[in-house]
Symmetry: C2
Subunit: 165 residues, 2 copies
């Protein structure tokens, strides 16, 4: 398999997790962490469900991976996430020494892996993950835009402003 095919395969797994988040009424974002060709941890957005500000998909995947490997160092790991990481998650990825970040849709509001900032490429930090964006971009973007479209249509029933990621 070529690297692009491998990346798409794991991004589909992240998309499945985004769907689980959506069913819980969360902004649909999913993440998996891969080491030696295998998924070692998963995460999806659980901010509203748990009323926890840090519960982005990436943070939960990183927590699970640290537990699994019994180490805060996630070297030789690739994180796949359906949306470009925000400043918090970009920083967590740098702190955890993840080797490679692959994301789906670009985030013009908070993306810090190329859009607003490119934190992983900043040589002043003590670790620089490789970044690849736009893998399954259409699928990853569509699940989000559909979610927000539905949320706006249902605005009378629940407050969409509460669903800002």
């Amino acid at each position: 398999m070529e690297q692009t095919e491998i990346d798409e395969m794991f991004m589909y797994e992240a998309l499945k997790l985004a769907c689980i988040a959506e069913k819980k009424g969360e902004v649909p974002i999913g993440a998996v962490i891969v080491k030696d060709g295998k998924i070692i941890s998963k995460g999806y957005n659980l901010k509203e469900t748990k009323q926890m500000a840090i519960n982005h998909a990436e943070i939960l995947a990183i927590k699970n991976a640290c537990k699994k490997l019994r180490s805060w160092r996630l070297e030789d790991c690739t994180l796949y996430v359906t949306l470009e990481p925000c400043p918090m998650c970009s920083g967590a990825i740098i702190n955890s020494r993840i080797t490679r970040i692959v994301f789906g849709a670009f985030d013009k509001k908070a993306g810090c892996c190329g859009t607003l900032y490119n934190l992983p490429l900043d040589e002043r930090f003590n670790h620089r993950p490789i970044v690849m964006g736009g893998i399954l971009e259409n699928d990853c973007g569509k699940i989000l835009s559909n979610f927000f479209k539905n949320a706006r249509e249902n605005k009378g029933r629940r407050n969409v402003n509460n669903r800002i990621r």
Copy 2:
């Protein structure tokens, strides 16, 4: 009491937590979150002890505050931390809508509240906390520099490179 005195009082509380971290062999950083003049949560660096990349003092304080308030929104809260927040923690503070950040020592290696970046002041994000740095700067800096000095002196006994925050 004037605001500066109040800020120093709470920073001393954060410093006490930094001391607890130090006793556990962690880089000594502590944080408290204050609402309505009262400490509602505390945190100190537990990255090594728990082998958890995200366990910075600020993240643990934010987690505790969300649990206490049963909300991811930490509006009208002030976070006091002995060291300038890194990208991950600056992002977590923005995401949790904390109103005000007060930090002690500046961090020339990873500080994102004025030193390398000033993420909280970026108008493109959907929340902009007020930032004040340099409160009890000498005390907050000294506990860190002493820690690293001791770690270098004990290098034969344990690997200081493992203690990079």
